[in-house]
Subunit: 506 residues, 2 copies
Amino acid sequence: MTAHTPNEQARSRIRAAYDPELLRRAGHVLMDRLADHLAAVRDGAGPVLPWHHPPDSICRAADITERFLPPGVDRDALVDHFRELVATMLEHGLNLHHPRYIGHQVPAPVPIAGLFDAVGSITNQVMAIYDMGPWATAVEWAMVERLGEQIGWRPGAFSGLVTHGGSLANFTALLTARNVALPDCWERGIASHASPPVLVVQSDAHYCVSRAAGMLGMGTEQVVRVGLDSRRRMDPNRLDKTLAALRDENRRVVAVVACACSTPIGAFDPLEEIAEVCQRHEVWMHVDAAHGGCACLSSRYGHLVSGLHLADSLIWDAHKMLFVPGLCALVFYRNPKHRFETFRQDAPYLFDPAAPGLADYDSGLRTVECTKRAAAFGLWGVWSMFGPQLFADMVDVTFDMGRVLYEKLLAAPDFQPLHEPQCNIVVFRHVPPSVENVPPERLGRFQLELRRRVIESGDFYVVSTTIDGVGALRVTIINPLTTPDDLDQLLNVLRTRGAELVGTAQ
Amino acid sequence: MTAHTPNEQARSRIRAAYDPELLRRAGHVLMDRLADHLAAVRDGAGPVLPWHHPPDSICRAADITERFLPPGVDRDALVDHFRELVATMLEHGLNLHHPRYIGHQVPAPVPIAGLFDAVGSITNQVMAIYDMGPWATAVEWAMVERLGEQIGWRPGAFSGLVTHGGSLANFTALLTARNVALPDCWERGIASHASPPVLVVQSDAHYCVSRAAGMLGMGTEQVVRVGLDSRRRMDPNRLDKTLAALRDENRRVVAVVACACSTPIGAFDPLEEIAEVCQRHEVWMHVDAAHGGCACLSSRYGHLVSGLHLADSLIWDAHKMLFVPGLCALVFYRNPKHRFETFRQDAPYLFDPAAPGLADYDSGLRTVECTKRAAAFGLWGVWSMFGPQLFADMVDVTFDMGRVLYEKLLAAPDFQPLHEPQCNIVVFRHVPPSVENVPPERLGRFQLELRRRVIESGDFYVVSTTIDGVGALRVTIINPLTTPDDLDQLLNVLRTRGAELVGTAQ
């Protein structure tokens, strides 16, 4: 065989892997297996988290890669092997569709959303330039338009894009803000700036905001945190004073970052008042609405994001409260001109001078990703099946459940809610008599250890956080099929596991 | 209804959307439709690209979002609607599985890879911390281990991660390099540096490398391009001189960026010699092996990446030459200690002090993404089904085809190959008698217009680039089922469309 005589054996092995009938047969097996699995999980069967120590799981995943089939086996053998692999994946994964999954801000997605994603995946419809992903581009534009209108903007008078996750979305928007605030920064870098530019942020902002300052070359020490009010919302008066002080010091402000809502307790900042302050100081206003952007779809909770349309930029994660699989995060710019401030480059093999009118549709000019998944297929598909009412329903039902849990906690003498929730994020402590009078440090550690015990038991999946330096339990009701009865059980499970932890079996 | 009495109508609409039987029925419909579609496309039916003007496609995608079904319709109606949506998606997408798709470095993926992705998508197995995605984490670690061993490293003696695309992967690695080169930069920012640090790059490096300098606050003007040899590879002697000159100017070098291979013509840099120069100058060596990392899986082409294991960091896109759907890009660090230099932060709600040993398994500490898709499921699944030989086969067959095309071009008087290809990327011009003696600018424009005409006809999908400022045609044979006969047809189609373009119908 010479270098340019394709190997026939290799070709035959490749044909077997690309066999459409293998896809068909394996696909049918997969769909039955997934439907059975979701039905069982929905009904609360099995653990929420099947706990295994990481090295054990890694070993297992690595061992499996050694057990591939020899070339030439028939399709039946391949399908059988596929069936086993899928079973392993389902047995070892976290069950977000379990009604007792109430943990991080990652939803039990609408299952059919994943089928739309699978179209993108199997046919590999990706973006970068329009003609690589014409339908992916069309769908992304359509969804940006729909959601932008919900935010309160006129069609065509704003701009948006989809990217891989809220952290990348915040980074993209803040990169744009940096380039607008420091016009020569893209080309010359920040080293030319004598006085370091700053980012002014809500004190409880997600860690990725401070990270963005580190990534952008601004430095995490140039993050100025604005004080909170009694409900842990950004205080517009303090923001005003902070911006005035920075102006007096001749410090350039890249952006103010508000939250809708904050990660630790789900606090929604007063956006209208913050916008007024930012406009007066002529500072870019960015809103991290990764979680709470959804409120604008609900007639009952829309007031929480009143003023969102005044932001210069904002992000909104469809893979949180629009209940589609990860990752599908949206970035919006109020002024559509800003969409080309993020990057200022071209690449001849990508952006075709023979079709100049098309560049506006080339996603690669606006996103960190060059090749990009058709990340909006799931959102577009669910919207096109069920319409906006389903999304409003899911927001209402889950936000309502935050209140339901809060009232249960208030009524329970051995539980202590740490705030009045504004949405589906609820932070509290379990305080059985045995830890009632311990020092804060021990009380906090009890919450974290309790959380660990609960998730490893598989009974519930909840999260921990720290409030003012003391550990607490944190719940996000982000499976819309979680019921009040599940929340009663949460309190019971925490009591039982808490008693085990203090060595007092009940 | 009060705020905390969940709405029963809403709950019933939600239950319909989450119905596992809907998933099952729609899933079976989807799998049959996809298998039929792939079989037809594989056999060359229909256009490669179904061309539509972007505004028309966007209107269509937006209109569809208005045609959702009313609540309460039965499952049959939902499945019928789903069937239509899928048909529209397939009719409007680029057909990468068409043997005449030979365009950008995005493959016709192994179809079953998309089924493994679908498990992740439908059950929403994501990462950030280990216990959110225990199996996703295990699979990622297993694949990092496998591929790192192929690169030539000892198990456990290196580190790696998966991220969303090559651009983000290069950015992540260069962020790490920046933080190592400028130890106070993460906290203090680049403004404190009197003399701007530089990035030294292969002149043909992908645009995302220069972008990274802009994003990192270094500035695109601080990118120093190293001259190429006659085959457009980085010249180690010129690199040596460049680094010496920068040292004399007291300029801090963040990294040297080599290519394996370069995007425009697929040139593989001499990595061993570059490593020797970098070591001598004590500079971080980064290799963009997004496309060519695959060569280390092939006994016939492995020599192209000889020395890859000497890099301090490198990236490798599985969604290119490992033939899985986008996006699955890997970042590797030779020194595992560097994995925590990228970011230096914590978030109490993510990284649990009650389980300190687990943090190493929390992907969020090492990737730009916080919540991250289980992006390695497809790669792990295909590897576990077919083993490494399939990947080696696909590399061999497609790289071989680069040579096959080259020889056809050499033999054709009206075609002009612009280089001797090292892999499956081939750049050339079509030079019919009518454009033989035109000025370079017109010759280049002819190539770009010809390309536009060809892709809009649906006959082939090819790409354009510019070499030394003059337009050219660029092909990547990245569907392993593309045959020599298809390449003969490519020449014929270019001749026919070229004749049309110059107004000389043949």
